[in-house]
Symmetry: C2
Subunit: 116 residues, 2 copies
DNA sequence: TCAAATGTTCGATGATAATCGAAATATAAA
DNA sequence: TTTATATTTCGATTATCATCGAACATTTGA
């Protein structure tokens, strides 16, 4: 089983985190995790192919925004809240709050359209 | 004289702002402005060609992060602090603080190397 | 052992971005 | 009016990214 790379707290880079958070799909993923706790990939309601979702999850993980835990066939994603707060105080909160406050919080998708 | 596009406060998008801030050069620009106030482009000590700096300034302006005021042959850049605070409370501060706290605040460049 | 469920990796594609130097533009200054 | 200053635009190059479907891998469950 592959070992998943997660940067150490001290190696988390501001620019990389901001980049990881600069995509609407990825913002919706972290917002979902914050609201509903640790989530498997198949729990996210995002309008992209699963390979694309996998790519976004990797981007967030390698930037240090999320942690991925393997559980059976699933990958459980959680926010690295403590690490991010320690490294960049207030950043994650302000981003999540800004995202919630925005007009269209989640890239919505009708259930019927969802097919992967 | 060209009119420079600046998005209205309400049209400033979170993802676009995060993207604009996800580049080390652009981070150093906004940090410089915060410390030293309104700056002309030629005041920034960044290791890129002037055409590239112009590109970064445009990216920041079009995302709504900075305001560009024409003064003679210069473009005076300032932070849209009020607009950003109103729209995304705490975001700009946390980013600037995180940038200051980071090990290598500014993409440094010895004076002798600077040549455009 | 076989099949289903869940993700990842691969290869391709189209889009966007960072970068440069050269040329163009606009203003100020001589 | 000519020249210098400050910056933008242009065209080209190279790199990265978001996306997809297909193939692959891993683990669980029948």
């Amino acid at each position: 089983m592959k070992i998943l790379f997660h940067p150490d707290r001290k190696d988390i880079q501001l620019a990389s985190v901001l980049y990881a958070l600069s995509d609407p799909i990825r913002l919706s993923i972290i917002s979902d995790i914050q609201h509903n706790g640790e989530q498997a990939c198949n729990g996210f309601n995002v309008p992209v192919a699963k390979s694309t979702l996998s790519h976004h999850a990797r981007t967030l993980r390698e930037a240090g925004v999320i942690h991925t835990r393997v559980q059976g066939t699933q990958r459980m994603l959680s926010l690295r809240t403590e690490d991010l707060n320690a490294r960049f105080p207030g950043l994650l909160d302000s981003v999540l709050r800004a995202y919630e406050a925005a007009e269209q919080p989640v890239p919505v998708m009708k259930a019927e359209e969802s097919s992967n």
